[in-house]
Every structure is written in structure tokens, then in C-alpha cells.
Assembly symmetry: C2
Homo-oligomer: 461 residues x 2
């Protein structure tokens, strides 16, 4: 660790007012949306506005051995962008330009700090969109989406970030800029470093630009339906039946009884039947109406009470319950938002495991799931210890540990779309195995031999 005032002075000499040491900014950089906060604030926040600012910051960090934590909008759920003592928080949030939109080649070249929804507003004028749609899309950045390998609601039909990035521009730990990937649909020149950057959570380099693969806006109707089941297991079986039928909804979300009740409460609706769980489904494209009708018939035959509409406003109203879920969870108090993903056929079994974990540890775990792709967000609700308000209680971690191991047993993964960050490091080797864990850590060292990029995140070394 170098003497910190020197680093700030060096940064200031080169970057002037972009170097922000105000207590508010440094404090804000300690946390993301995971609930975790670094114990102390970072040295400074650098507000990069251009690629050269990122390069200058990394040259100084590299020369002084100072750790750098790259941040976008700070909406991560795993603590991956939390900056603490002795670290530089490097914000790319001001780098928001759309440098190119090519409708002919269905691509856009953007800076990393642009908000996902703002990019899509911009693209809609061209009849285009970027498909990744994390639930945070109104507040999260494209760079953050790439750095975490974000997913979202539309993934089963329209893919995840990995499927929607052609190339990235990356500033390496020592400040050099390299351009990975390509502008063509196909390209296999050398190793696929673009894919390696996706989901690398700040450990390999700083993403300062991206060439995104776009889609044309989907023409035709959008149909929305909700299907209410007497229990979560029946709802999960219903979603598995929809997938097995060959229908391809654009959205298929599942809310268990506790999360549904919380959302109804928040929205001031008449409470649902106790135990009731819901699927919220959308279909789109030329077969939207036919698919919605087939799904409605199927789910009704499985005992669901179904509402269906092809009116967009009415559809928005039906989906409002799902969209209010984040706020509904917050209304229940503090929670640890988890993110396991299992093969779709294992969804009912995973809900059984959640019920078992709830019982065994005496915790409440309202759960929503991107049922179309087997990705669950169990929310471990807890009351913080007044003596350690920033910490997740031990029993919650024990319950989460049990849940993670259940997901792995079912052929699943620790994290479908949030990443490992700080909070899931200790389970990483359980999923990867020791050999692969070591191989991955050695790759990090190739990119960052001095270990200054987001140290301690993902890998605990």
C-alpha cells in the first residue's frame, strides 16, 4: 500500500477536478445494491469522461500499486463494485456517448456509462433494440451489464449479454488500450477475449467501449397473461409445462406466495388467496396471439386461474405486479437477494429445496424466478443486528450456503446473472473445482500481474 495522499495528488495533477474526494462521493462508492458496504471509503472517486482519463488513472494506479475498483451506476447485487480503504473508485458513469448506430449492420458502438434503458430509448428511433434487459435496466449501465454478464427477463427467448456483444475496448491494468472482438457477425480470429471480458467483474481490465449486437424491434402483438396457482410447486410445474410445450414466451416470471403477497400489499390490491403463486407471461412476434391462447389453455388445464390480454396497457397492468417486486421486497425489510440458476426441469425441485431451507433455518425466503430460463432470486429477509447494521446475520448465510449447495446438486449454478463479487467468493471453488479455480485465477494474473484491478473480488486472492 502506498502513501495515499501521494496517489490522490498524482491523480489530481493529471486529472484535476475529475478527482473527487468529497465525503459524499467516497461514501457512495462503498456500496452497491447488495446491501454490503466496504468498512471504509476509498481514497477518491475518479469521474472518467474519456478513455484517456481511464488510461491516466490506471497508469498512476499501476505505478503506485494502488487498487482500482471500476464502477458504473453502482447497481450490482454482489458487492463487485464496492470500493474501500486505499482504493481508487474509477467511475465510468459519465462516459455515456453513443458513438455509432448502424441499422445496416445491426450494431451500435457505445461508451460504458450509458444506462441500458436510455440506450434503448435512443435505439428505438432506429427501430432497433439491445436485448439484454436486467430488471435494473432503468438504472444500470451497459458497461455494468457487460462486466457482470447480466441476464434479465427476456433471456430465454432473446439471450443474455454474452449473446449480444460483438466486441469490447479494454484498458489494461497498466493503461494500455486494446480492442477485442469484431464488427462482423462471424469472427474467430484468435481466442475469444470478448467473451472472457463478459462477466469478468472488473478483474481483467476496464471496459471503456462496446460494440453491441442489436435486434430489430419485434413487430406484431404483445400478449400478456397471468396464471394464478394454489401453490408455488404447481406454478413451477406450470412453467415447466409451458417450456415443454414448445411455446417460446418472451417473458415468463414466477412469483411465490410470499413475494406475491408483498407486491399486492405494496400496490394496495385485494390480498391474494393465501399460498397462491403466479406466473406472469408475455408472448410476442407473429405468433403472439396463438401462443398466448395455447399457453392459457394449457395452464387452465393444470388448475390455474388465467387472465390474458393483447392490450398493451392492460398487459402493463398485469406485469406491474412483477415489476414492483424489488420495491415489494424492500417493503419487507433488509434482504439478501440471491441468484441461483438451475436447469429448467429442476425448477419445481428447487422450490422444494427453498421450502426445506426456510423450515430448517426458520427464515423467510420470498422467491421470484425467471422461470423461462430457470433463474431464481430467493430473497432472504432479515432484521439486521443493531450492532452490525451492514452485516448479513450468520444464520442467513448458513441458509444461503445450504441453498447454494442444493442448486449445485440439481445441476445448477451459484449465480445466473448477478456475479460472484464479494459475497459469493467462498463458494466459487465449490462450483468450479479447485483445478479450474486456480486456472481462472492464473488467467487474472496474466491480465493484471500486480493485482491492482478489483482485488479480492470474485477470487479471494
Amino acid at each position: 500500500m502506498t502513501d495515499s495522499p501521494d496517489v490522490v495528488a498524482l491523480l489530481r495533477a493529471e486529472l484535476g477536478d475529475l478527482v473527487d474526494t468529497s465525503p459524499e462521493s467516497r461514501d457512495a462508492a462503498r456500496a452497491d445494491k447488495s446491501g454490503h458496504r466496504a468498512a471504509e471509503p476509498p481514497l477518491a472517486v475518479v469521474h472518467a469522461e474519456r478513455v484517456e482519463h481511464v488510461q491516466a488513472t490506471l497508469r498512476i494506479a499501476s505505478a503506485t500499486g494502488t487498487p482500482v475498483v471500476t464502477r458504473g451506476a453502482g447497481t450490482g447485487c454482489a458487492g463487485g463494485a464496492n470500493a474501500g480503504r486505499g482504493e481508487i473508485a474509477l467511475s465510468v458513469r459519465r462516459m455515456t456517448r453513443v458513438l455509432e448506430v448502424s441499422p445496416e449492420d445491426l450494431l451500435a458502438v457505445v461508451e460504458p456509462g450509458i444506462i441500458n434503458a436510455e440506450l434503448n430509448d435512443h435505439l428505438s428511433a432506429y427501430g432497433l433494440w439491445w436485448a439484454p434487459d436486467p430488471a435494473s435496466r432503468a438504472v444500470s449501465t451497459v458497461g455494468g451489464n457487460i462486466a457482470t454478464g447480466a441476464g434479465g427477463l427476456l433471456c430465454a427467448k432473446y439471450g443474455v449479454v454474452r449473446d449480444a456483444v460483438l466486441g469490447v475496448d479494454v484498458v489494461l491494468a497498466d493503461g494500455r488500450l486494446i480492442r477485442m472482438g469484431h464488427r462482423s457477425v462471424k469472427g474467430v480470429t484468435g481466442l475469444d477475449l470478448t467473451s472472457l471480458m463478459i462477466g469478468s467483474e472488473g478483474r481483467l481490465g476496464v471496459i471503456v467501449g462496446a460494440t453491441l449486437k442489436l435486434r430489430r424491434l419485434v413487430p406484431g402483438d404483445v400478449c400478456t397473461l397471468t396464471a394464478t396457482f394454489p401453490s408455488v410447486r404447481e406454478a413451477a410445474a406450470g412453467s415447466a409445462a409451458v417450456t415443454a410445450s414448445g411455446a417460446q414466451p418472451s417473458i415468463m416470471e414466477l412469483m411465490d406466495a410470499a413475494s406475491l403477497a408483498a407486491a399486492y400489499g405494496l400496490l394496495g390490491l385485494v390480498p391474494p388467496t393465501p399460498g397462491a403463486s403466479q406466473l406472469a407471461i408475455q408472448t410476442d412476434g407473429p405468433a403472439a396471439v396463438a401462443e398466448a391462447e395455447a399457453i392459457a389453455t394449457l395452464l387452465t388445464s393444470l388448475g390455474a386461474s388465467v387472465a390474458v390480454t393483447s392490450d398493451r396497457a392492460e398487459g402493463d397492468r398485469l406485469l406491474a405486479i412483477r415489476r414492483s417486486m424489488h420495491a415489494a421486497m424492500e417493503s419487507l425489510g433488509r434482504s439478501l437477494i440471491e441468484d441461483v440458476s438451475v436447469p429448467r426441469s429442476a425448477l419445481p425441485a428447487m422450490f422444494d429445496e427453498i421450502a426445506r431451507v426456510e423450515q430448517h433455518y426458520g427464515v423467510t425466503i420470498p422467491t421470484i424466478a425467471h422461470a423461462g430460463d430457470g433463474n431464481l432470486h430467493p430473497n432472504f429477509v432479515f432484521t439486521p443486528d443493531p450492532d452490525a447494521p451492514d452485516e448479513v446475520p450468520a444464520v442467513v448465510w448458513e441458509a444461503a450456503d445450504d441453498l447454494f449447495r442444493a442448486a449445485l446438486r440439481l445441476g445448477g449454478t451459484l449465480t445466473g446473472e448477478h456475479g460472484i463479487g464479494l459475497l459469493k467468493r467462498r463458494w466459487l471453488a465449490d462450483e468450479l473445482g479447485e483445478d479450474q479455480w486456480r486456472l481462472q485465477r492464473d488467467i487474472v494474473r496474466v491480465f493484471d500481474p500486480r493485482g491492482i484491478l478489483n482485488p479480492g473480488k470474485v477470487f479471494d486472492t
Copy 2:
């Protein structure tokens, strides 16, 4: 280099008859479909039938410092699987089992040696398919498709290999087995090593298993149309217009005048008008007929003579011209099959560059293109020097060099789907830049510190 008889003896002691030192087998392992042959045969061909055979081979190779060249069906186009002096050719061609097909989870777990078309025959009984469809699909292996990051005809609509692999099992240089990736739709645990393996051309490890992402067979009609234009530039502009219209054909292939004339000649058809070029297009799915009609109207308005059918047999007849292309090229003599890819909008400009290169170097370059995704296969036809029958003449490489640089200038890439192998190593740093080239080579060293895996391929060190 160790003393070779020892290595063969060690292999035989452990693997018995799987170790093949017959002159025929060793000779066959020298070459692929690129036309390039290693100057001398390898020490032996090991016919691995199980993962343990691969592990045993690599343990012996590692202990003795012997290079290992992994091979499937030997259908590569860049010399990547050619094995030479002092090397072990490790064939996984006999590892052909389909270990699991899960219609619920839309995945299959397979061994690497199964032929792409045979896998798809197997999957069709479940109403499923694996989308990557290189032109070599009847003869190339799934493992080879993954190792090269293969593309194919259907890519613009249905994706490339990168989009269709959930995980791979890999034997490392020292014989350890690791499992990368996941079975769930989403998964972002650690670095995406699965993507890094795709297209790694034998430099990082030996792929001994793969979890493939499947699709349901597409219901509905398949419409086929051919559009014949007076010139290749008009055909290229036609394909760009189809893409710009928002139509999404499953196949859109372009044949220039020379390749079209060769195919007509091979099939004994009445020769086309001199200079005429053709697009062969297929549409599928619920909107197939409407899309085909819209495309036909558009291309007719652009001056094409259009034939369209929704009859599958008639469609096969129309596509037969495109499918005969490989044989048609071989009928012209020896050729160097190239594989540049450019942004779709640059396709007409790329054809202008090909015409310029033909003129400038006095070579003939019949060209076919996966026009829907901007991937061109210029075939440099040549007469071999009788004194060096295995070598591509210098003038052809000069012309190819000029063409590669043109593709890069147009925002394209050296290789869309064939890989770098042996034949394009010298241009790799031109596309990647020195910094990225070195970074990639250093990643190879993490996987294979002793440099025994396919040394000299992709990277010349």
C-alpha cells in the same frame, strides 16, 4: 524433443492397440482439407475411445515433452489439426456417444467425435436440433466445430457455435480433467472459460465432452428462392437490401459468376448468362411464405430474375447448386479456400476488392458468401508447382495478403469460421495488434506452460 521410440513405447504400454503407427494412418494425420500437409508424418496416431485414453496420452506427452495435435475428422480448412514430425496425433474421432438428450432442458451431452449431421439425425427423433451447420456438417465432428468456432449457412438467424454450447469438459495439458460451463440457461460463475475454449484450435486443452444448447425443430413451411443478377455487385447489393428490409432468412448465400459457372458445369446444367451471379435464400418458421414473397418482390424490383417455391423437393433442387460448391471448386483444380468476414453493409465493397485483387495479381478467385452474415469464401484457384505440389504459390499468398488487408480495412476479420490454424498465423497480429497478440499467447501459456498442445498453430510460438 525426446527420443521418439520411447514415447511410442510408453503410449503402447498404457494404451495398447489404440496406438496406431501404420504408415497410412500417420500419413492421413498430416493433412486436413486446407490442402496443406505437414512435411513428415507424426510419431503415431492415438485413437482415444474414452476420456481416460486422452488423459493417459496427455500425461505421457507432458512427462516426455512431446507435442500433441488433437484431431477429429480432419476436415479443417486452416491446417490446425495437421500433425507432423515428433508429434502425437490424438484422434477423438471414435468418441461418438450421445450421453444425454434432455428435451425439457433443451440440451444434449455428447462426446467430441460425433459427426454434426449424425448428431442432428439422432436429435430429430426428439424434435430437436443443434443449430451450427458448417457446410462440412456431413463430415465434420462436433468437437472440431467447437475447437474452430465453426459457423455455417444458418448463422445470421440461428447463431454460430459460440451461441450453442453451454459447457465443455476439457483435458488439460498435464492430463487433468476439468468441467467448464453449466447446464442452466444462465450462469456467470467466474470467468467464461467455455467461450475461451470455443475456437481455441487445440491450443488450450482437449475437448472431450460438450453440453450443447439445442433448439426445437422449426415448425411451418420452408420457402426457397433463387435470385439471379447480371453482376456480383448487384447480387451483393440485393443481399444487403434483404437484410436492410428486416426480413430474416434462415439461409442467404451468394455465388459469384465464376463459382456459379463452375457449379452449373459440374451439374451439367445449361450455362448461365456470362457474369450472372445468384442469391440462394431460404425462409422458415411461421412467417416463411410471407417473408419469401416480400423478398421476391424486393429482389425483382432490383433487377433480379427470381424463382421461388414452398415445395421442399423443389427447394432442395434450387439449393443443390449452392451445395455442390465445394465439389465445383475442386473441379477447377487446386485452390486456397479463404474465409474473410465483413460487416454486412461492406459486402459489395468487398466484392469490388476481390475484383481488384484478381486483376492486380492475375489470379482467379471464384467466391461464395454467406451473404446473410457477411462471411465470404474467396477460392484462390492455382496450378501447383510440380516441384512443390503441397505448396500454395507465392503469388497466391501475395493476393491473399492483399485481400486480408482489404477485409480488415472494411472493418472485417481474417477468419469468419475456419480459424487461424497454420495458414493465417502471420496475419494474426495485424488484426489483434501486438498487445492483444501477446496477451492471448500468455493465456495459452497459463493452460499449457510447456507448450505441448498443438504448438505453432494460431500463434507462431
